[in-house]
Amino acid sequence: MSAEAVTTHPHAHHADVRRHLREEEARKGVRVGVWIFLASECILFAALIGTYVALAGRNVTGPYPRQVLDVPMAAVATFLLLASSLTMALAIASGREGRMGRSQLFLGLTLALGAGFLGIQGHEYLTLVRQGVLLNGNLFGATFYALTGIHGTHVLIGLLWLAGALVNSWRGRLNRRTAEALEFLGLYWHLVDMVWMVIFPVVYLMAFAR
């Protein structure tokens, strides 16, 4: 606002400042809410992982994890998810710098990598079902599908959110000013990846490690 406008419309200037402060307060509130949500997700996954660990090795009947788990395939899925976290971070960095084309590219890559992860998990589920690992089969089946299924659902929600963000960016609705919305998506996506960094060793690697 020009100095002339301020001197002629001082109330307009004060109204602008008040609106800006209200928007700042609202943004802070949303940010706190997002962090509290992420903290609650840590507790949720800790409970699921704790249940898996506590009940591991207590199957009365098979199939047993060492017989059916495909570690190489799970490793590929893990590296896809790790890569998606990197591309997500680069998408956010590009959005902050106002480079929306680059941000769109990295968002698209994140979507593709996340979809690849889910595709591998879906293929794994089909293979396991054929091998007799069922949700109501034994303790391993119940805890495995509960843990990885809920994680997979979180990945799916993240993919839908990513798709929405991509569509918004194509329509020109994502810009430097609205890049904060992308940061919240990033916080969620990184948490999904961080949880998998614990699930993968606990479920797949500990079954085979000495």
Partner: protein, 93 residues
Amino acid sequence: MRRSTTTGYLVTGVVTFAIAAIELSLVYLGVPGGKAALIPLMAVDFAVAALFYQGLWHERPMYKVIMAIGIFFGVFTFAGLVVMLSLGRIVRP
């Protein structure tokens, strides 16, 4: 507020990849004590991602506290479940 740079993100990516590769190596090489070694590696991987991908390193103390409370109660819940379910094995009705 300071934030991670593109270089910081790339370094974080390399570190998380390296830790995952080390975890896989422990299993495939059949290293004794590999199972126990997975636990600190998992924790470091998680911490690196939280600090530098999520940006907790640069965030306000309030958000660090919120996440720390979530992780604390997560660990508490994890330990509680392991203990309770083990006790259920010992005590028979």
